[in-house]
């Protein structure tokens, strides 16, 4: 049952070199730089996003994800979900408004897979970049690179996916859209949605908690995915795999790495989910096909290369 969590609103990634990272996210992915703060963090967004930013980059000596934040309907929802988390035995921490630029207070907590999650309800809305809100044109003409439209979801690797999926379902009101289960019925992967999207955040079981697999950005069409692949070659960017199609969610995809080794995905298409839909289930012995529908083979790098 929906409890007022709307969408992944931001993700903060650690990068080894900010200039290299910005060249990648701005010139290759086509994200828009929106702001910087006193800590040196840089705030970016895809052009269709209404909120001021969705991607925050922080220079550090270990790449990976600091946190992913979900935007909720309103401040009353934040109060209610914060109390619900505490009642479920989850410790929460309130971060004051303004810690992230032009963002209201955030409630932070750690899920069983070891990742830091946040809930927030208030962030400055600058509107879609380059087009207005009244009689808007189809798209702005000066976009760069892959012209990523939005930050869509992230995939996280860690311990106890089942407990994390249960927490997000029971307390935050997300739905389990797809899962991978082993022959004993253990949940090895959980694709969670707070919306109609096939996933707003996904998890895969892994022995080390808190690992980051990828941040994904949405493109409109399969042809855009192909052109993204061309740009990856033109710029000698580190490729992972693709263009291809997933079995899970059936999205059309390509994977590559930012200059600090954080994996990125751009994708198009994919399935949708309503709250009354049963989860789609993949059997672990079909995992190769579930992940890469055409190759149908387990891809060692996809399963073990993490930041």
């Amino acid at each position: 049952m929906k409890k007022g969590v709307m969408r992944p609103g931001h993700i903060q990634l650690r990068v080894l070199d900010m200039d290299e990272a910005l060249n990648h996210y701005v010139n290759l992915l086509g994200m828009i730089e929106m702001d910087r703060d006193a800590q040196g963090r840089v705030y970016l967004k895809g052009w269709t996003e209404v909120d001021k930013y969705s991607l925050v980059l922080r220079q550090a000596d270990q790449p990976g994800m600091d946190f992913v934040g979900f935007k909720c309907l309103d401040e009353a929802t934040i109060d209610r979900l914060s109390a619900d988390l505490q009642a479920a035995g989850v410790a929460t921490e309130e971060i004051a408004a303004g810690d992230l630029k032009d963002c209201g207070r955030r409630i932070a907590f750690t899920v069983p897979t070891g990742h830091r999650f946040e809930l927030f309800a208030t962030k400055e809305q600058t509107g879609k970049w380059g087009v207005g809100n009244r009689n808007p044109e189809a798209w702005p003409r000066d976009l760069k690179g892959m012209k990523a439209t939005r930050f869509d979801h992230c995939l996280l690797y860690g311990t106890d996916v089942a407990a994390t999926a249960k927490l997000l379902t029971d307390v935050l009101g997300m739905d389990l859209a797809e899962q991978v289960v082993d022959p004993e019925g253990k949940q090895l992967a959980a694709f969670m949605t707070a919306s109609m999207k096939a996933h707003d955040v996904a998890f895969i079981e892994h022995p080390e908690p808190g690992k980051f697999h990828h941040a994904s950005f949405f493109l409109e069409t399969w042809n855009d995915v192909l052109k993204a692949a061309d740009l990856i070659s033109m710029t000698d960017t580190s490729i992972d795999i693709g263009p291809t199609r997933h079995g899970l969610t059936h999205g059309q995809t390509i994977y590559f790495f930012d200059p600090s080794g954080n994996r990125n995905e751009v994708f198009a298409g994919g399935d949708y989910h309503y709250p009354d839909h049963e989860p789609v289930t993949w059997d672990a012995e079909q995992l190769g096909k579930a992940i890469f529908y055409h190759d149908r083979q387990l891809n060692e790098r996809f399963l073990t290369v993490l930041t």
Binding site: L16, S260, N262, V305, T307
Partner: protein
Amino acid sequence: MNNNYNASTPETPQRHRIELADEQTCFNASSELSLLVAMERAGQALIPVGCRGGGCGKCRIRILKGEYFSKRMSRAWVSPEQEAEGTVLACRVYARSDLTIEPDPPEIATSCGTADRAS
């Protein structure tokens, strides 16, 4: 980012021979390419390939002999002490002389974990 200050960047690309410690296998690497990308372009698979960006640790090696230039790499996989003793990620290292190396890929779930992670 150069932590090996004696190994300056050559004006024209130099070709160096990268030998594995077992002396059975080797590849040539241009000073312009990371050891890992040079190995891939040579069509070899002597070192595991991961992210190619200094993040995932897959391509960790020990440099036993030779001069090199290295860029910043994740402290999850190489501590400052290890780096001083020649443990590096091959995707962040550029040859400045012939090198002798040996692969040192980390086990899954063995990152140092204590480096700069929290916000």
